[in-house]
Each structure stands twice: as structure tokens, then as C-alpha cells.
Point group: C2
Chain length 598, copies 2
């Protein structure tokens, strides 16, 4: 079994790059002292490594089951770990004290979330979805709804789910058919829901006494398409006005999917209203459900990016451990000394450094994007809030798409570092590959993210939010150029990547047809990710150089940070040029071929 | 279940590009008339689609088992299909008529092999390994050994295996410990073998009445390292001098691996000589076993490249079928017309065209490399033989590494085209991903291939073989430039890729330290693959243009060929620049970081 330790040093570094000290200085986060944050990360690391990580491989082997009595059984130990998780207050970390939360910055919550995902992604999907439900309810629920549901969701005593997909409506939510009918007999604002949802992660389980399903459905007078969708909260067990639990609702898991990975997480087909109708309450305005759900989706998308980071970290640690232990081949620097561990071999180091550099870049970028949400929530200056909001909107699809591509690529390299052993399931390396694969698909496929990036985040504001970011990236480039040699040497590679990013953005703004946008969106997103991740690595190198010069902390950490950034600059940044060429090739070569010629 | 049809049109096209008509015109292949070859491909297509393809998904689900009585059970239907395979004479296609083979060109055998691999890679591994055993025995066996073993191996009544790996000796065969002792009491040239081998594909099964294990082991007087390894043939059942079967040998499968994929193929731990010693006969000279095994390995490496092509083809067909069927989202060209199949969406087409273009490029490159072996075997002119030999040696690691990277990438895109459905095992898309993953690892990891390419195929002859190839590639570039517009438009992209290939090769020849070579080898191999695959696409476009102009055949095929080449030129060739940058970044950034800083 692979050993996991939370990468606290790099997490702290990424938190610093994300501006945690400025965020923690905001009045709203007055209690988030550096000592408290440190203590939280330490304890989370212990909980992740000690309680969750040991569940990961057995949970994969055992999987979930729909029992004859209709209950969904999770792997051994999942429920006990969840009880400890709730008991330890881990679920409530970033939420408002108004509902029992601890009010910590979201970016600290992100670091902790990364630990859970790295320790056991399948298990950690459950609280991840609860987080999304809390965000949606906080933003769109009535005071009464919040009072009734939020305290239990914040504590983790109840969990949450997202119910969007139907078999004919995946990426295309306009095709939704699930129905909601007003049920004034049940009380004001109550509805009966009928329909089936698929791919519902942790749709049922026995970890919590209740599950709050957020369900998209159509009201009887709904217009067709995405502007006729409403959002409902449908609890597994009905909740009385005093908060006590009532009868079981008319909702159940009818089957579980047999998946490539995340076997420890039940992916359910959910039946709503097979009998009298599942009772639900409307969240937000009628027909505006998609906008409400997007609050949840945007949160979830950043968290899926964190899954990419977490699984990459887990795979990296396992590969490094193997490379330190596996003796094979001779040291090219001293071939006569006999066999050495494979970490001595340059081509193995290329794999490990690719894993390391991309993981660190993805971590820093994700934390940075999450930190923007803290600024939006807590900064007193509205202009600062607005800028942070635009930045977060811009980066959310990049984080979701690129960091999950990174998660999969890193897990894949982890298998390769293991050689033949990596293909054997007992090794555990291939589980990370299987688990990581879903992140590129769910919460909006990466293709959907790419269309979101180009359509809504670049073309809609004519590149305004992007230009503001590019200015900051250029400032980093200027700072690199005047830094000591080891750091300055990266300025040219970074400048070239920025050229690609800026010029491809300009190309997009000059080619606004839907065909051009859709044709270019995926390579553009990858270009953006590589460049934005590179920005984080360059900022990290500058900060590491500063700490070295100032004699702060552990110099070995800062030297390794610069080494890793140099690898990123030399081996990873050059891919922006290839993605740019693919993006700017335009739609003609994609659309030329006749459909039936494929 | 996914439907598979052998891609006969593109296979014929790739055979033409590989020079089949010239090869078939050689006296040795006088019987290989176009009509016969066509009939063989048609029938192979039927056998693959009708008999093998239906086994693929059930075989993955059922897997293999080591029964209490020590026999290895394959999935239902495997044995019946194998019996039909042998009965149909499929195994003997490319082998010498001296031993019952049909004497067809190897490149025709490759096309047929691709069909088997695409239809069911796990099943088809068994005859693939037999092919390698036949090659090694043909090249290094005595007349007596050949007479005793080859007829049954050629017919397929017996199968073959490769026994290299031991737990401490994977990529590093110098660490082999398996022992062989002369056993003159058993007859001249007989040995007793003791030791354990791991990762033995189809190491045991009940498909055939005997299995010829080719086993690497050390003689008592063997020097240490790779120059003290000898090759032995160890049959599962001893063979009497008259060819009849004798007693069971002291060799058995002691356990099966639980793997990520190829569940229908038993991967065995083999125990040789647990009792009195496994009886074997020496193949080739003592201590020269590695060279003998490399005959088998080189054959196997091209065949693993074919597996990459086959699994890519299978994944591509399945993704296209889904994209033709799945309705989701609107046509950007006519949004008011309502939902359309996803093949209308540019970003889906990018995935499908990437799959298609890389699969076709990999197919053409692999057939071309295999065709060189036909020229080596059958061409009357020794200079032509030598040139073909050098070309095959150069391309073998490129084919093995790049085509298997392509196989995995294409299978991965196939999952993505399916969206959430792709993650569900019943869909079958993820099986291709799991199956394809091993091809990058076995028969020498792709890192080992990359070291072979740079060390033995570029540096050893100071780039001579590569330069000869580059001259032909430049001639193709010149032909492109003077072709009609649709083809000429690709000349610049191809020229740029060739610049990268030539200049990085020059860089390698100027940086010959082992550290530089090992650091650069993987990106250089990918660069080489993209450029060489691109060469095939460009040659294909020229030929397609010629056929269009000449009014030959089906114009829709040639138009699609040019469309696919244009996509390759615009979206895939630009990656040579990024791989070049990574290669030329040199070893410093790989080796700078302290081992314990990882």
C-alpha cells in the first residue's frame, strides 16, 4: 500500500502565492491567524494520512453495492471515517459562522480539501458535493430554507448531491425532462418531483442521516430549453419545520454504475417520485434554476480542479517512493559502481519532474483561483471585489480543465515510472489513473469548460478580464528579467509562452464565429493552463529566490522550487506554441470532412 | 457491445504506401498476387469481426483463472476461436513454406495482425508471441531444432512465450539470476533450468497442446552482466526426437497477475525447475542469448506498435459510432434546427480527427517499418537489403514507442468522446484505455525504446541511417510544394517539423554524453514519431491527390485522406517544436535537484 503524507511545505508555499496573508488580514477572517492555519493544515494532514488514505485501496477493491433492501453500502470504514470527519469539525471549516461554520478563508478550505482528495478521492467526493450544496443554498435559499438545512449541511450531519444529468441530457441541459408540480397541499413553496437522474455521485449512502438532493426540473409552465429549468431541494428524509426528521421521501437509488474508477463512491441512478412524488422545495426563482445550480457548479469546478491536484500529488509521491527504492540499471555518471535506484536515470527524472512541476503549478493556480472567491466575499473595496470576481470567472474553467488534465497525465506517468509493476492493480498506481480519469468528464466535460472559457470568459467581455491578467503576467516576466541568473534564465521561455497566450487571445477576438470559437477552445484552454501554471511557477521562483536571499526558512525547499520552475520553463512552457498552432489552424480542417467519411 | 469492422480501405492504402506492390513483385513472393492479398484481408476482416471481436468485452469481464489443478483457464470462447484460427491457417501466413508457412510478405501479415489486435488484443497476444518465437528459432535454431519445433509453431498447434523478466531484473536484464546447467544425461545440448520468471504473457493456457517457452538463463560459467545470458527453449511438454509429445516438463504457472487491463490474457509467474529441473535446449551460442532474444524482441516490438494501431482503430470506430448516434446540443451552423448528433460539434470533431489522423499515421508508419523486413529477407540486391535493414532498425523503437503512445491517447480520447458514458465499463470505451496502457510498458518500456533510438540508432552510426531517411522526407516536402493547393498548403508545416527533426538530431550528435542522450531521448522519440507519422500522411496526401486526378478508385476516400492529412499538418505536426525544446533543454534541469528533494 502506498504511503501518503500531505505536502504541507508546498501547500503553504502555494497559499502564500495565492495571497493568504492579505486575505487573512481582512476583518472577516480575523481569527485566521498563521498559527491557527498551520495547526489546521497539520491536523488535516494527520487525518488524511492516518484515517482516509488507508481506505483508498481497499475501497477501490470492495466498491459499493445496492443492497436488496434498497440501501447503498459503501466500503468498510467509509462510515466510521465520515463520523470522525464530522466529529472533528472538518466539514464546517470554510463556512459562515451564522450556520455553524468556522469562517476560515476558502483558500484554507481548498488546501484541506486537496488533502482529502489526495488521501481518498472516492471517499472525499461526498463532502465535496456537500460543499457545493451549501454554496448554492447560501446564495439562493430563503432565510427559512437556510435555517432549516444549512446547519446540518455545514456540520456534515447531512450531505448534499447535484442532480442534473438525465440519460438524454448530459452536456445539453436544455433536454431535461424531470418534472416539478406545485403541491400547495403540502405547504407554500412545496412541489412534487417526478423523473429519473443518472450519474448521481453519492446519490445514496448510509453515512449521514439525511441527504439534500439539489435537483433540476421543469415546472408545468416552463418554457423549453435552459430558461425553463428550476432548482429544487429534495431531501432523502423530509424535514419538519422544527428541523426534526419526518417521513422518508419518495426518492431512491435504483441502480449503481460499474465504473472505470472511484469504486468507493456510489454513482447512482436516482428515481424521484416513483410513487406519489418526491417532495421538494424551490430554490431561487422559478425557471432560474440553472443560474442557481451554476453557483454550485462553479464551486464544484474549482474543487474538481483540486481533485486533479490531489490525485497528482498522490501519484507523484508513490512514483517517487518507487524510484527511490527500485534498483535497476547503472548510474550513467559512474557505470562501474553497479546498479542504482532508478531515480538516478535522467529519463526517469524527466517523468518525475514533469509530475512534480505540473502538480505544483496546478496546485498554485487552483489555490489562487479559490483565493479570488475569498476576496469577493470579504474585501471591503467593491472595485477589488469586482476584479477578483472577474479573475475567478476567467480562471474557473482553466482550473477545472487543465488541472484535471494534469491530474490524469501525472497519474499516467506514475504508472510508467513503475514499469511492469505499474500495470498490476495491487501496486495502486493504476488506481490513481482510473480514479483521475473521471475528473476530465464530470462537472462539465473539459470540452464544455473550454467552450465556457472562450465563449463566456474571453469573447463576452472582449478579452477585458484576460488582459488584466496578462498585464500581471507581464509584470512577473519583467521581474524575472531583472532577477539573479538562475531565475532570469526563465524569462525568455515565459515571455514566449505569454506571447502565445496574448496573440492567440487576440486571434480569438478576431475570429468570433461559433465555429472558430468551438474549434479553438480546447487547444486554447490547454495553452492557457500551461501559461497560467507557468506564471505560478515563475512567481514561485521569484519568491523562492527572495527567501533564499533573505535567509528565510529552509533553503533546500527554495532551491528545489527554483529547480522545478526551471524544468517547467524548459520542458513544459514550450507546449504553448503547439497548442497555439492547433487553435489558430481554425475550423476548416475540422469541418471539411463529410460526416459519413469518418 | 461495440461493433468492429476491419478498416480495409485504409489498410490497403497503407500497404500501398509501404511499397507492397514492389515487395510482392520480388520472386520470393511470386504467389502474393493482388487478388490473393485482397481475399486474405477480406477473410481476415470477417474472422476478426465475426469470431474475435465478440470475445473482447466478455473476456475482459470474465478474465483468466489459475485452477486448483494448476491449469490456466481462459475466458469462454478463447479456445474455440483459437482452434478456428489454427484450422483456418491464419497463424502460418507470413512464415517460410519450408516449415509449413504460406510465405506471404510480412507486411501482409502485419495488416492481418492489426485486425486480430483490434478485434481482441488480449486474445491476440497469444499468436503474437508465437510469431516472435518463430522468428527467434528461425534465425538462431539448429536445423534439428527447427525441424522439431517450427512446423507446430508455424501451424499454431503449439504456441510460444518470452521469458525474460525476473522480479529484480526488468528493464535491466544484467540482473538475471535464472540458472541453466548442462544435462548430458538427457542428451547432447540439453540443460536443466531453475528459476522464476514474472510477467509471462500467455505463460500457460489450454489453447494448444504444447507451449515453447523461450527462456533467458545463465550457464554455470557465465560472466556477469548481459554478456552472460543464454537462450533456451523449454517446452511445456517434452518433445521426443520423432516430434511426438513426451512427459510434462518441470515448468508451471504458479500465479496470475491482477492487471489494469488485458484481462483475457493470462500474465503468469512461471516456475522453472521447482522439482528436478526444467529441461531445455540451448538456442544459439552460449552467452549470446540476449542477441538471439533481440531477434524476437524486434519482431515483437513492431507487433506491439501494431497493437497500438489496432486498439486505436477499435477505439476510433467506437467513438465515431457514438458521435453519429448521440444527440446533444445544437448545430452551430443552424442553431434553430434543434439538437443534433455530436459529430456536428467542432470540439468533438477535433477529438475524432486527432484519433483518426494519428491512427492512420501510426498504421502507415508501422506497415512501412515491417515492409523493410520483407526487403531485407527477399530483395536480391544486398545494398538494398542493407539500406532496408538500417531503416528498420532505426524505425523499430519509434514504431514501438510512438504508436503505443498513440494507441493510448486515442483510446483516452475515445473515452472523452463518450462523456460520462465513457466512464461506465459496460460501454467498452474504457476497456480500450485499460488494454492500451500495457503497450507502453511491455517489450521494453517506451523509455527503453527511446534510449535504444538515441543510443543505438542515432549516435552509434553518427546519424547516417537517420540522414538517409531525412533525405527522403525532404523529397516528399519538395513534392508537396509543387502539388495542387490543397496538398501544397501542408508543405510549410511539414518543412518546419523536418527542421525540428534534423536540427534536434544534429543537437544529439553534438551532445553525446550519456546524460544528454538519456535526458533527450523521450522527447526526441516523440518528435521523431510525430514527424515520421507526418511523413506518411504527406505521402498519403500526394498519393490521394494523384488518384483523384487520375480518376482511380473511390474519390471520397482520397478526399478524406487529404482532409485528414491537413488536420495532421495543422494540429499535430506543430508539436515537434515543443518536443524539440524539451529535448534540447539538456540534462541540467533534470539532474540539478537533489535526490532527497523529490
Amino acid at each position: 500500500m502506498s504511503v501518503f503524507a500531505a505536502p504541507l511545505d508546498d501547500m503553504r508555499f502555494a497559499l502564500d502565492l495565492a495571497g493568504l496573508s492579505d486575505i487573512a488580514a481582512l476583518p472577516r477572517f480575523a481569527e485566521a491567524t498563521p498559527d491557527l492555519i498551520d495547526a489546521i493544515l497539520e491536523e488535516a494532514g494527520k487525518f488524511g494520512a492516518g484515517v482516509l488514505a488507508p481506505l483508498n485501496e481497499p475501497g477501490d477493491r470492495e466498491g459499493c453495492a445496492l443492497e436488496p433492501d434498497g440501501t447503498v453500502r459503501l466500503p468498510d470504514g467509509a462510515a466510521e471515517a465520515y463520523a470522525q470527519f464530522v466529529e472533528g469539525g472538518w466539514n464546517s471549516l470554510p463556512f459562515s459562522p451564522d450556520y455553524g461554520g468556522q469562517g476560515l478563508p476558502g483558500v484554507v478550505g481548498a488546501a484541506v480539501q486537496e488533502i482529502w482528495q489526495a488521501a481518498s478521492m472516492a471517499w472525499a467526493l461526498c463532502p465535496l458535493l456537500t460543499t457545493g450544496a451549501i454554496e448554492a443554498l447560501s446564495a439562493h435559499g430563503t432565510d427559512e430554507q437556510k435555517a432549516l438545512y444549512l446547519p446540518k449541511l455545514v456540520s456534515g450531519e447531512w450531505t448534499g448531491t447535484m442532480n442534473l444529468t438525465e440519460s438524454q441530457a448530459g452536456s445539453d441541459l436544455a433536454q431535461l425532462r424531470c418534472k416539478a408540480e406545485p403541491a400547495p397541499d403540502l405547504g407554500e413553496g412545496m412541489y412534487r418531483i417526478h423523473g429519473q437522474k443518472i450519474f448521481i455521485t453519492h446519490g445514496d449512502h448510509e453515512l449521514a442521516e439525511n441527504i439534500c438532493h439539489l435537483v433540476l426540473a421543469r415546472l408545468p409552465d416552463a418554457p423549453p430549453g435552459v430558461h425553463g429549468i428550476s432548482l429544487f431541494l429534495v431531501p432523502k428524509v423530509l424535514v419538519n419545520p422544527d428541523g426534526s426528521l419526518g417521513e422518508k421521501n419518495d426518492v431512491k437509488a435504483v441502480s449503481l454504475e460499474h465504473k472505470l474508477g472511484i469504486h468507493g463512491s456510489p454513482t447512482c441512478v436516482m428515481a424521484f417520485g416513483d410513487d406519489a412524488g418526491a417532495v421538494g422545495t424551490l430554490i431561487g426563482a422559478p425557471h432560474h434554476g440553472l443560474a442557481c445550480m451554476f453557483t454550485m457548479m462553479n464551486n464544484a469546478r474549482l474543487n474538481i480542479g483540486l481533485q486533479g491536484v490531489g490525485i497528482a500529488e498522490r501519484a507523484y509521491q508513490q512514483a517517487v517512493a518507487y524510484a527511490h527504492e527500485r534498483v535497476q540499471g547503472v548510474n550513467i555518471a559512474a557505470p562501474k559502481d553497479g546498479p542504482v535506484t532508478i531515480i538516478h536515470h535522467p529519463h526517469v527524472r524527466r517523468m518525475l519532474l514533469t509530475m512534480r512541476a505540473k502538480t505544483q503549478a496546478a496546485r498554485a493556480l487552483t489555490y489562487y483561483a479559490v483565493a479570488q472567491a475569498d476576496i469577493v466575499r470579504a474585501h471591503p473595496d467593491e472595485a477589488v471585489q469586482a476584479a477578483a470576481h472577474a479573475r475567478q470567472d476567467l480562471l474557473t474553467p482553466v482550473v477545472k480543465a487543465w488541472c484535471t488534465e494534469v491530474g490524469f497525465e501525472v497519474a499516467d506517468l506514475g504508472v510508467q515510472v513503475h514499469g511492469g509493476t505499474g500495470y498490476i492493480e495491487e501496486t495502486g498506481a493504476s488506481q490513481h489513473l482510473r480514479d483521475a480519469r473521471i475528473c476530465r468528464i464530470y462537472e462539465g466535460t473539459n470540452g464544455i469548460q473550454a467552450m465556457d472559457l472562450v465563449g463566456r470568459k474571453i469573447l463576452r467581455d472582449k478579452g477585458a478580464a484576460a488582459r488584466t491578467l496578462f498585464e500581471e503576467m507581464r509584470a512577473t516576466q519583467a521581474a524575472l528579467a531583472t532577477a539573479p541568473d538562475d531565475v532570469a534564465g526563465m524569462a525568455r521561455a515565459f515571455a514566449s509562452a505569454l506571447d502565445d497566450l496574448e496573440e492567440t487571445t487576440a486571434w480569438l477576438l478576431g475570429h468570433t464565429s461559433p465555429a472558430s470559437a468551438q474549434a479553438a477552445c480546447m487547444p486554447y484552454t490547454l495553452l492557457f493552463g500551461v501559461a497560467a501554471g507557468g506564471w505560478m511557477m515563475m512567481r514561485g521562483a521569484l519568491e523562492a529566490r527572495r527567501r533564499l536571499d533573505a535567509g528565510e526558512g529552509n533553503p533546500a525547499l527554495w532551491t528545489a522550487k527554483i529547480d522545478t520552475a526551471q524544468f517547467y520553463a524548459g520542458a513544459i512552457l514550450p507546449f504553448t506554441r503547439a497548442h497555439r498552432a492547433a487553435a489558430e489552424a481554425g475550423p476548416d480542417s475540422l469541418m471539411a470532412m463529410a460526416e459519413d467519411a469518418f
